[in-house]
Each structure stands twice: as C-alpha cells, then as structure tokens.
Symmetry: D2
Subunit: 330 residues, 4 copies
C-alpha cells in the first residue's frame, strides 16, 4: 500500500504499519521528499513527490491520505477512480460540493473508504458501547463528552483549521453518534474566547458548550477547551434508564503519593498521539481487515459527512445565537 502525505499523522501510521505482519508499505509520497528520506524510511521501496505515481502502481491496493484537509476530496476522487481502497484522515474535506463529489465517485467506483476518526478505536470508549450493546445502560437519555486539548495550536494552524468545530469538535460529533448509535437533530452553542484573544481575527473561539438534541429525544452536551493545562482531557459518559457508563482519563501513571499536604496523583496523558497510541494502531488494523473483506469499514464516508454537518450546525448556532436544526444543513 502507499501513504500520501508524510506529516505528523502520516508518520504515526507508517510506524504502526511497520509492526503489521500482513501489510507492507511500498511507496510513500510527500512534496518535500528528497534523497535523505531514503535513509529515514529504509523499509519503503519507493519515495515519490507526485501521488499519481502511487495510484498507477498496480501492486498497490490501498492508500492512506494524510495530506492537508483541502486536498482530501481531489485525492480521494483520483484514488477511487484508480480503484484503490482509501483511508482518509478526518475531516473528509472543507467545501461541501467537493466532499459530495468525492462521496459520489467513491460510491460509483465501489472502493472501500474509511475516515480516520481514531477515537472509535479507543478501548476505553468502546467499553461504553459494549455496555450499551449489552443493554446495561437501558434507553440512552444523556450523553456527556468532555474534550479539552492540553494547549492551543499555533495561530497559523488555527487560521487554516476550519475553526474549532471542524478541527476539534468534529471528533466529538463523531463520538456523539458512535457512542449513542443515534443521530443528532438540533444543536445549540455557547462559545467564547477565554484563552487567547488573538484568534478573534480568525473568527474562531477557544471554549464552547455545545448542547445536542437527538432525533430520538435524548439529550447531550459537549464541552470543549483549547487549553487544559493539566493534559488532554477526554472523558465520555452515557446515561440511560438502567445506569451510566463513564470513560475516565488515562493517567501518566497509576502511582500516587500521600503526604501531610494531601494526596498526589499523575495528570492525564498530555499528547494525543500518546493517549490514542493503541487506537491509531487499531484503526489501521481495522481498515486493512475491511480491505481484506473480513468486516465492513468501521467509519464510512457517510459518517465523515454527518460529522461535518454537525460542525456546520454548530458554526451557525454560534453565529445566530440560537438552536440550529441539523436537517437543514445540506
């Protein structure tokens, strides 16, 4: 298979693929590639600057798209037309028409397509779904997602991120659907800039409380912050007629100290690549399982589109100050 885009996330996937017995990375593609990279990636046979070289290689069955978001739809279209199965990082794109065109081509070509919502593969969150599927939680009534980054991205990143809802909350929107198995009907946002006023010029915010009303009547709330100084705060709680399931943070260690002044424990893991280390590997294992036809794709193009619509509804609610209906987003 091949990887298109060797930035941070491309490298995460590359490292994980090295430990897979049944998948080999033949070609990697990046516009910055030069001779030195050969030493950096000894296990790879071909390094290219133009992703079309990957798409025309008949030995390559599947590609990972890890480029900047604005390139996702075009590469998806080209890869689908080349008959490759596709794993594409989230979000599937920025512009609605491009995304829908890519969706159409993927469906038409019948290739497999998976969106990289890594949190679906986290064993702690999956445990909530297990409790739900065992019908321990009963009828779901309330969903709560806490999702706070340890520190804000650079202003440069913010500028091209598509805004907090498209860049950060989109994971939570996907989890809202994944954890409950329900669709969201209405969205209301209270948002503010409480951390760094410089993002005002990008019309973005850094702190938000996003309320959800689901189609089946159940309620939900996501709280987001760009800066939780104590680490990456990622908790989910699903409450229903028979009980509640909660996924707590993963700490740097399970060791405590208790002295005269109080009890000390370690903070949550700080870095998302560390927190979701196993989930990233599991995500690719699942994708290649789907490529081999062992099971359906775990996170479909449709899932990618629906998460984007929730992000769009949130954006509109922030502007309007009122509730927005998801069905009205096309």
């Amino acid at each position: 298979m091949g990887i298109i885009g060797m930035g941070r996330i491309g490298n995460v996937h590359y490292q994980n693929l090295l430990t897979f017995d049944d998948v080999s990375v033949k070609t990697i593609c990046d516009i910055l590639i030069d001779e030195v990279w050969k030493e950096k990636y000894p296990a790879v046979s071909t390094l290219v600057k133009d992703y079309h070289q990957i798409l025309t290689d008949p030995e390559i069955d599947a590609v990972l798209i890890c480029t900047p978001t604005d390139l996702h739809p075009q590469i998806t279209i080209d890869a689908a037309r080349a008959g490759k199965d596709i794993f594409c990082e989230k979000p599937v794109g920025f512009k609605n028409e491009d995304i829908l065109e890519a969706y159409r081509v993927v469906n038409q070509m019948g290739v497999k397509f998976e969106v990289g919502f890594n949190r679906r593969f986290d064993k702690h969150f999956d445990r909530i779904v297990e409790y739900r599927d065992e019908n321990r939680i009963g009828d779901p009534q309330l969903l709560k997602i806490t999702s706070r980054d340890p520190e804000p991205p650079s202003l440069d990143y913010v500028e091209h991120s598509g805004g907090i809802f498209m860049d950060m909350t989109i994971h939570d929107f996907d989890m809202a659907r994944f954890i409950t198995g329900q669709e969201v009907a209405e969205v209301h946002v209270f948002g503010d800039i409480l951390i760094d006023d410089r993002i005002r010029k990008f019309k973005d915010i850094d702190t938000a409380v996003i309320s959800l009303k689901f189609v089946n009547g159940m309620l939900g709330v996501i709280d987001n912050s760009r800066k939780a100084v104590y680490g990456y705060d990622q908790r989910i709680e699903l409450f229903g007629s028979k009980g509640v399931s909660r996924a707590e943070n993963i700490l740097n260690s399970e060791t405590t100290f208790v002295g005269k002044e109080g009890a000390l424990a370690d903070t949550p893991m700080y870095f998302f690549l560390q927190r979701y280390k196993e989930a990233y590997a599991q995500e690719l294992r699942s994708f290649f399982g789907a490529v081999r036809g062992e099971h359906p794709v775990a996170c479909s193009f449709d899932d990618g589109v629906r998460a984007i619509r929730l992000a769009e509804a949130a954006k509109r609610s922030l502007l309007s100050g009122q509730v927005e209906k998801v069905a009205e987003i096309k």
Copy 2:
C-alpha cells in the same frame, strides 16, 4: 426558637437542633399537631397549630419556615414584622410579587433571613470553592453540574412542585452562582420527557441539559434527570486557566470486590437526606451563628431571588426553544 411546619424537612432540622448545645427548640407548629405528638417531641415545651403563637412569643428569637412553598412569603412577612430572624426553606416562594413583598418587608424590618440551600454547606462542594479562592483554578472558564435524583417524586408532588426548574434545578442554579462567584447572563434549555410520560399533563419535563453563559463570559452546563437508578448523582466540576476541581459522588462504602467477572464498587448514596446529612446540620449551625452575629448570613434573600430568576429563565427557554436573557426576568 420555633419551627413552623413539621414535615420531612422540619423533622430533619429538629433532629439536628437536638444535638446543638446552644440552641433550644421551644415551640413547633404544624396544622396536623395532636396530643400524640407530645410523646414524639419530648424535648419541645409547646406544640401549636397556629404559627402566630410562635411569632408572639418573646422568648423565641428565630424561626425555621418549613411549610409548603406557597406559604413561605406570608409567613416570612409575619415573622419579619414580629422581629424574628428567619430561616426559610427553598424556594422562597412561587409568585414573584409575593416574594418581592416578603423581600421588602425583611429588609425594612432588618431581621436576618437565610434561604435553605443546603448544598452550600456540603464539604465536598466547599472544597471546590476553597481551591478557587486559593487561586489554584485560575480564571474560571467552564462549570459543569450533574444533578440527578434517584427516583421521580410522586405525580401529586410534581403537580405542586412548580416544575423541575423551580423544584430541583433551583439547587443547581444556586450552586452555579455559589461555586463560581459569578452571575449568569443567559440560559438555554434542551428538555424532554424520557422517564414517565404522565408528567406531560403538568407541562413538566424530567430530563434537561441547561447551558449557561455567565456575565464574565465563562460557560456552564447543568444536566438533570429525575431518575438515576443507581442513586443520587451529585457532581460538580469547575475548570479554569490553571486547572480543574471536581467533586465526586459519595458512595455507600469505600469497599470493593474484584472477581473474575469484574470489579464491583458501591453506588452513590441514594437518599438526599443521607447524602447531605452533614450539610443540613452545618446549614443550621451557620444560621444560628449569623443570628448570634458571628458572621453574615451565608445565603441571603437576594440569593433566593436570583435562583428563582434563573429557574424562570430556564422555564421560558424550554417554551421558546431559544436562549433567554436573565436580565429580562423581573
């Protein structure tokens, strides 16, 4: 002192007062009082059916008003005019004009007046305020309150409760102000009937997500359910620029069992009188401290009025489906 209204909460206060060295309950008043009660309350000298008998007793300095809510304002007015210091159960009343009249008289007569928001005296919640006051949390940015009852009240109770916001969420509205030290500017509610459809005829709901925007820009959310089968779920979290403080539930025991099938722990305490046992005693200790002039009243008439306005804003938001501004509630 005297107690007016010897229902459940009147009796809770009575039992607590028995253990106070420096306060004695001279008279209790209840419309149901009969001869048998003398044996039930041996420590009390006088039992009366008409609360005016308490108000005219010059030996009585202070009264506890524990009657149904609709009587609170009139008894408050009468007690204030009689020069008694007043502890009044929450909420201070139902009708706005009655409440404001009572407020006016209390101020005019200069008696001390405390509203019974017992959670302010819970050591676990107070610990959050301590962390805040020590400036460990930094600038507060997000408040989260989980407040779920173990089981819904009777339909009869619901009918006269004033609705979920006035009966149940009012505690959370008071905590929202108490924990943050900030005033709420805007309220948005998503609410639904997910537990028992029979409350629909009272135009009430049983599940709610209430988002808050504070005057200082910080955000908040309260989630309410009338039925958490696992017990009384009372958690608060205050997140700020320097960290987060969380108060967790109090369990029936700190003992666990771990076997092949998993680890078992006990559920949160089920009954509010058990959960807030110490807080109820502390609340009265504080009130009598204020009566003796040792410190100001901990929860003033103004606090009572402001909580009611938040409940009213929530009610309006549920009806309008949109954000309501608290300043517009008079």
Copy 3:
C-alpha cells in the same frame, strides 16, 4: 443506664446516647466530677464519683465501662454481681488472672457483656464480611490489614498503654478474627523503633510487620506504624479463591484538583473519632439491641480474651525473634 468513666471515649458514647430515642443516661460517674459538670451534662439526672452508686441503682439496667484499662476487670466483676449488662471498652484488662476472673463472674451471673471493638461496626469493613458471607470471595487465603496512626501518643500514654500490641494492634487482631471468621494459630513479628527513640525505655516499638498463620491454613499480615503523617490509615483486604475485597480509607473530601503539577486529592481522615464516628454510634445501638434481647452480643468477652492472647503472642515473638503458637498462650 449509666456511664463509668467520663474521659474522651466516655464522652463520645454520651454524645451518641443523646440521639437515641430509647435509651436514657441516668447517671454518669467520674472521680473528677464536681458541681460544674451539672451544666456540662444537663440531660443527666445524677453525677457520682463512686461507681457503686450506679451499680446499686435499680433503675439502671446497663453500664458502660470507660475507665483506664487496669480498672476494667474489677468494675466488670462488681457490675456483673449487681446484675447489670455491661459494655466495656477494649482491652478487657491487662492482667490475665484478673481478666479470667471477670470472665468467670460474667458467665456465672449471666449478664450480657460486650467489648468495645468499634471497628466491627464500621460499614466499610462490614462490607468485606458481606462479600465473604455471600461467598463471593470463595475460600479465604490471604488477609492484609494496614493500620497506622496519624501520630504517636504521648510518652506518658505509651508508658501505661500495655505496649503497641495491647494498645493498638489489638484492634487489628480482633479484625483479623472478625473479617475472616477464622482463628489465628501462629504469629511472627518483625518490629522496630523507626519514629521516636524515646519509647525504647518502655521496651515498646512503633513500627511492626505481624505475620499470621490461621488454623485453617490461610495467611495474613498486619502492618502497624505509630505515625502516618498523612492521616489515619485503615485499610483491610481479604483475598480468596474467587476474588478479593478491599476497604479503602475515607478521605476528608471526595473533591480533587488537577493542575499542571499533578492531581491533588484530600488525605484520609486524621482523627479516629472522626473516622469511626458512625461506628461508635452503631456499636452502642447494637449493644442496647442485645440488652433488649433483639440479637446476641456482637463482640463477646471471649472475643476480648482472644484478641489479648494474640497481642501476647506478638509480644513474645518480638522478644524471641521467632514464631509463636497462639495455643500456647494461656
């Protein structure tokens, strides 16, 4: 009923009895009693210096013996002969012959006798016994008791305490029997002075690891320290063929703070009267239930004697440096 000895523990029991509807404290006895005490104990009708005045009062059914330990046997004998039911603080005495004589008289007179091992009434420890009785733990195999005081007693107290095993570990020896329902066969002690060298002159120690072999083959270990700076550390763990049950410490609050430097939680409750507050009340409720014939005495004279024999075995093991058999202690 009457209380003999109004030191710290006598007063704890007195306060608890005030809240009991069905028990009234008629007389209290203390050699230090004077006129001022009448104001201090308004609920008591008689205050005496000589405990025989309690024993000869036909209106008094039961007595609490809360004097220094060396007086326990004689007062027990006198009270038993006067036909009173007896609650006696631990340990039942110091000298073996005195204890056995008191035991004989109690049996002969057929009065009820309970030893004040308050920890048997702690809901957290009782929960382990519940798990055991539900046969969740299976065959018990290992018992672990951590029992550490927050600070050492005064040297003066140490001198008359009977040594660490008789004063402090005796509670743990009783718990070893209570939690497992088994008898101890052999004891081995490693002990040392690691906190304050001044207790060496009393031939006492302040830190110990006490290993136990039970008659049924199961094993156990108690660790003791006179000084856990972080609070009163009281944990028990029972491990068996089907699982393990653990009782953890009770913290000053369930509120945490997580900041950049780590997560903070509160320390275990510091003072034993606070930690075991509910257990002390429950202990007396149980005693008076037994006095009224509702159930057998929960902690018998025999239990008191067996705990003392374990303390004696530990003392001998510390001296001999070897294993001591409990059956050889008479």
Copy 4:
C-alpha cells in the same frame, strides 16, 4: 545482535527489537529451528541451532539469553569469553557454583551484563522511586509488595521452576531492593498450599507471606499467590516518615458502569506480557543504551545474585519455620 532461545520471552524481545531504529537482529538461535522459521522471521538474516555460531560472529556485539534457566550460566560464560555484551533472562541460574563461576568470568572479561528484571522498567513502579529520590517519602519505614499471578503454571513447569521463590518471588525480591535502595537482612516466611494440592509432590507452595527486615531497620512484606482469578495483581507501596507512595494495578479499561446493583469496573490486566509490555521494550532500550556506553547497566549480575540469595533465604525459612539471615546464605 543475536537472540539465543526463541521461546515466549525470546519472541517478546524479538518483536520489540523490530521497532528499534538502531539495533538489528542478525541471528536467532533455537534448537527447534527449521526451514519454516525463515518465513516467520523475515527480518533475520541467519537462523542457527547452535549458539556458538552466534558467539563466533564478529558482526554480533550483544546477545540475549532466553533459554531455560539451567543453561544460563554456561551460555553466559561462553558469551563473555567471546566478548559479547550479555542480556540474560532471570534468574541468572539455579546452581550457586555455576552462577558464581559465570559472575567471575563476566567480571574477568569486562563485558556488560544485564539481568532481565523487567519490573524495574515499569513506569508505575519507577514513579515510587522518583517520589523516594525527590525525598518526598522521607526515611523509608515499610515496604509492601502484592504479587499474585492470575493462574498457576502447568505442573510440568512447576517441576522445573526452582520453586515459587526462585521462579516468582524473585521478581519481588529484586523489587524490594530496587524500590527501597536497601539490602534485606532477615527473611521470614509463612507459606501454604491453598490452590492446588498436586504441587505438594514438588515440595512447592502456592501462597506465601514473606516478611523482611532490612539492614537499615526498615520492614517489609511480600504476599504471593499463584492464582488471583481477577487478573495479575501487582501493587507496591513504600511508606516513610513523610508519606506513602502506592503503585496500583493497571486495569483493562478506565471505563465503569454504575447501575442499580452496584458499580462495575474492569479487572487488572490478566497477562504479564500485556501488563509489562512497555517495560519489556524499555528494558531492552536501556540494555542497548548501556551497550553503547550511554549509561551503566541498570540491573547488574550482582543484582541477579542478591535476588537469588533472598529466594534461597525464603526457601530455608519455609523449611525451618523460623527467621533466616541473608548474610548466612553464600
């Protein structure tokens, strides 16, 4: 480098080495090797049955010895004479004279030698050492190690294991030294067969409480069981004059469910390779760091010998029923 012995632990090390950029496995050796293994180990250039082929290869700098324990000393001697740096699985051998001879040759040849006590590299246990080194714990006074396997090994394994102390407790003996930084002076054991009576024929036990007295006067206790049905129970606690540090178990997930019947959490990880997954990788990283001269070997031959002496003392104490002095074991 080369690996000698490709059983379970040899394969664990092999998998970890695949992810190291700076180490390559040239040759693996196993007496069972055949043609099929070439496909199983594509990254390896040479597969041999005779370990001498590894020792004579000048391209190989270091070897991992992962054979059965009785072969460790001879291979160590041969590898040291061949000038290879050596990583040897625990224990370093069974027979005292063989071990001491190997030790002598290693010292004489000046090669680096590390014993595979993987728990030294566990981040949770290391955190205790960090707290100790920061002088937060103060003077260490008590060490407690809980070490329970999820299920007993096969009887066949037990027969050749060297007994519970040499096979299982040896890890705990090493941790006792590592966590405290102190040497053990005396050992006392209570042990029993409480799980499976069939091991009686090998004169082994399955449950033990091992008390320790350290040279500096501090005390310790290890409890061992061959069968904790709920998973691999690995906890350590170090208590001192200024506080206590505790490393708790790692659970299968940090997700809970709370329903009417109680709260459920996941069990500790069951399998030692899963529990210590990161520690095994870290152990090798450290060894190759030492081989490259970046830091001293983290766990020396002397550490290996001292752990064996503690195991021997425990064995003697079980037989004698009394305390054994470690200094008397040669």
